[in-house]
Symmetry: C2
Subunit: 365 residues, 2 copies
């Protein structure tokens, strides 16, 4: 009998613990105890990426299905009415997680107490414009945004720059937001990362969630280097290197890279507008993985401040493979870089150095 | 000792059952056993509601976060390139739940084996056009769609018509899709329902998820009757009737109704385009509640085939309060209808009878 009891004991303890947990859960749900809302800023929110992004945030795609949110929408004065329409529609959709919406053209009001900032607002290059003129417009936008975030955002606000030139806009932000932790300023290359996963999935006729660990190195421009050398594919006989399954070095070095680099242009050609749905979705993926962590064994691409890893000049905002845990990203170390990759990575660093000096010249440095 | 064992036994059984369940769950997840994908058709998918809707479907907002989906996108030939861009972006977003995308201008290919159909495609009234001319265009579109769904969709396909005139488009669909169960044809008034919830929430300064059981009666047109007489509000001291908390009969009978009826026009005025984000989100809510059930004690508004409830002529597609369970809607019975409501409800029935006869005259009946 004693033996029988000793086997039962752990189960009893386990059962009691489980029941207690269930009871606490029911009481919490009865009392409607829920998480405190997180305040998310979206700039350029009257634009088409904003319009695609805000319902995703309000549905929990960015911060999780049990995380209430307050959304701050910022845009410029001429877009004020359209911005207000976005607010009206967010209200009309009766999202259970959405605890508040602020639509404003005042950058200080928009930035106040925000814990996540997704910066879609920027100045787009128009036909016939010089690169320097566009940079000059964006430098002043991001300088102003940096000052407002520096002074009014929550101290640990996580920032994602989506607007092009994304890496350099993020760099300006860092330079003019001295109290913002360097680790909290990032730019989006997840869209390119997802596109690279999708191209491999299509090529191998496997589902995209079975492909992982591609890398986007460098600049979120058509110079970016999509790298499949370390990617793996989940198969019925385990994880296999993507390059082994593809077995076509020529495709990997040409068509694959070109397709990912030029995908934005291909969407514009077909849609007569730039990608919004996929950009918004990738922005959610970027923040979600940053805040909630990357799945075990999986890395993602993020534009972050270089610490000199892989020989990339320190301080450049450069896209690296990163893993995220407890709200912190860290660059994946120790990957073998072949000669082809080295050259592409250096090209990106060079382009970003140039952008940096153009930006500085706009500041009159 | 015997007594002790008799208390422990249920816990042991419980513990064992729980452990077995956990083990099965882990094995399933290891073997990647997952639900079969559900095929969802979206017509008019190159339009702006389609563009807002498809990422929501692909993220699980419509059928649940563990339900894989295949999306069929249909649009007309002139929109083929834009439609293909939507497909490209869905692929680029690397949605884990999205198991396939078909973009086509062929109605038979689009309708084949679909289990959910969201019909956004229709002909919009242009300035100076007679109501009958618009109806005539939509009658031919919905007749063709009915024939294709009747012959090629899955036998239990659930259909949601969003395109205006939504109720009458749904009626045409029913008349030309004889094998489609009558209960499977619905039209969207959930957007109006959500707008009504939101207006009460704003008025009382409570969160929208604390308000429930408004009703949209009748036609998805500006004649619709938003009815707050049976709505309740969750407060710290229990559920309270909304009309008691609002305590302003004049507001409820005028401003509240006007605001909900005219909200679509207000969005168009501010946005210079009709509502897409909130329409798409409400379409997700409609299908989700229909398929997965309405929460206990909560009803929603859906345009469905009248069975004569509340004196509404049998066979009209009319918006009623419904509860949903196991994939079936049923009209909430026994609500008290005051004289004001009766008149508004009859006005809607009258308008829908007129629309029906215009539609029939377009068919040469």
């Amino acid at each position: 009998m004693d033996d029988f009891v000793s086997i039962e004991k752990p189960l009893v303890v386990f059962g009691c613990a489980y029941l207690s947990w269930k009871i606490i859960k029911h009481i919490s749900s009865f009392l409607k105890l829920e998480k405190e809302p997180v305040t998310v800023l979206v700039t350029g929110a009257a634009g088409q990426i904003g319009y695609a992004l805000v319902p995703m945030i309000a549905r929990g795609a960015m911060l999780g299905p049990d995380q209430p949110v307050i959304i701050h929408l910022l845009d410029i004065e001429p877009a004020a009415e359209a911005l207000n329409a976005v607010k009206m529609e967010l209200i009309d959709a009766a999202f259970p997680l959405l605890k508040g919406v602020v639509a404003t053209t005042d950058v200080v009001e928009a930035c106040s107490d925000v814990e996540i900032a997704v910066l879609l607002g920027g100045y787009r290059r128009r036909e016939g414009m010089e690169r320097k003129d566009v940079m000059s417009k964006n430098v002043s936008i991001y300088k102003a945004q940096a000052l407002a975030l520096d002074q009014h955002a929550a101290p640990d606000c996580k920032i994602l720059v989506v607007a092009n030139p994304a890496n350099t806009n993020a760099l300006i932000l860092r330079e003019f937001g001295p109290s913002i932790p360097e680790k909290n300023i990032t730019c989006l290359t997840r869209l390119d990362h997802n596109r690279a996963l999708a191209q491999i999935s299509e090529r191998l006729n496997v589902h995209v969630s079975d492909v992982k660990n591609v890398i986007i190195w460098g600049n979120h421009s058509s110079t970016q280097y999509p790298d499949a050398n370390h990617a793996t594919v989940h198969t019925s006989t385990g994880e296999k290197p993507a390059i082994q399954l593809i077995d076509d070095d020529d495709w990997l070095k040409t068509e694959f890279i070109d397709t990912v680099q030029q995908r934005g242009a291909a969407i514009i050609k077909a849609r007569k507008m730039s990608s919004a749905l996929s950009a918004a979705s990738s922005a959610c993926d970027h923040i979600r993985d940053w805040v909630l962590g990357t799945p075990k064994g999986t890395w993602v691409s993020m534009g972050v401040s270089s610490d000199g890893s892989y020989g990339i000049p320190q301080g450049l905002i450069y896209s690296f493979p990163v893993i995220c845990d407890k709200g912190e990203w860290s660059i994946v170390q120790g990957l073998n870089i072949d000669e082809f990759s080295r050259q592409k990575m250096d090209e990106n660093a060079k382009e970003l150095m140039e952008e940096k000096s153009i930006a500085h010249s706009c500041l009159g440095d």
